[in-house]
Amino acid sequence: MGGESEVCLGIPGEVMEIIEDRPDLARVDVSGVRRLINIGLLEGEEVGPGDWILIHVGFALSKIDEGEAKAAMQFLESIGQAYADELTALSGSRIE
């Protein structure tokens, strides 16, 4: 199994441009690699350059909500910070 393809992966990518005569297609960038992605499933949503989308087998399944992503990171950061504070307090108390 080492090295084999797992195709059911969904990955985030950034929209570079919407194709002129095919508004259901977007050129999307994933870490410097670009591919045409079908964004037909996001019909009804505003999708434009700079937006991030979740890509799966050549289609966009969802638009990534940057606000929610930020909120998620803030939660994780606060937990991380609280934990780090506790550890500091713990090691601080050993110095006495």
């Binding site: 084999e4 499933l41 087998v57 050549g58 289609f59 399944l61 969802s62 998620a72 934990y83």
Partner: protein
Amino acid sequence: MVRFVDEFRDADKAQALAARIAERCEPGREYKLMEVCGGHTHTIYKHGLEDYLPETVTLVHGPGCPVCVIPMGRVDDAMHIAAQPDVIMTSFGDMMRVPGSHGSFLDSKAAGTDIRMVYSPLDALKIAKQNPEKRVVFMAIGFETTAPSTAMTVLRAAADGIDNFSIFCNHVTIIPAIKAILDSPDLRLDGFIGPGHVSTVIGCRPYEFIARGYGKPLVVAGFEPLDILQSIYMIMGQLAEGRCEVDNQYTRVVPWDGNLKALQVINEVMELRPYFEWRGLGFISHSALRVRDAYARFDAERLFDLPGVRVADPKACQCGEVLKGVLKPWECKVFGTACTPETPIGTCMVSPEGACAAYYNFGRFTRTRVMEATRT
């Protein structure tokens, strides 16, 4: 720094979450949580997430691997189609080594059949356009995550007037699988880590029966290690507070109501079968999709004469119990001996998302020896 990926892989935050999870454990109580989705099984093993959890929290691996649940008879049907004259069979990579009664796609390819790996159903459609004298068939597998993409491809084929393209539809739906787990007498679970990408399509509402009817919390989770740890943290929170709800950890991607357009296209092109056989779980009603009459010209099942023989799993194979989470991979009698990633007997060992493959490749060695070796 890869956006939306690297931030959710931070080891320090994992430590913090692990500590919080441990705090929410009631002393003396054992917890069993199931992650339904094969992608989650893969992440858990790949990143060694179980090392972060307290001893009392065990993860049970569920049947959410769409390759794993395809019965051998259907693989045989697919190989039969591939062997027809002028057929180009196209498939995702993870299907290539799934064993049927007479070998796998890869074996058939070695014997001369035109079977090609594709990344997207649109690639298969492109092959059809480029080879008008051939009949191109796409092996459509996956849960509701992939079904919309298959459906969109059929709609595009219809719009472009492509008449040499069809799909062999083996899409299955997640809710009946979860229900089969819940109804199984062998399993006592405390909560569920809910599928991430299936939920972008179906939303979070369909899981409500689990909380209301069966009294188990379910938290929809993303695929990065911190996503999974956070969702475990949220489940443990519910259990500690005596709550029982459906919650969403993967809010940056999963909308509560799902993707209406995706559900519409599935419904336009496909309909539920009255019943379908799942490897290891038996026949489940209304659990799989087939092509509607209006799109019959894209339905390989109608275009080709399929043997349609029901083939029982090999006697040695215990995939069914592993898929239900009743057996751990190493508890299967043939794990690692007759059944290895190189010579798989069952689908749990073939698919990169299968519990057996994941365990064999990632979790296999005694955790203590591995931890010793990697300590710097």
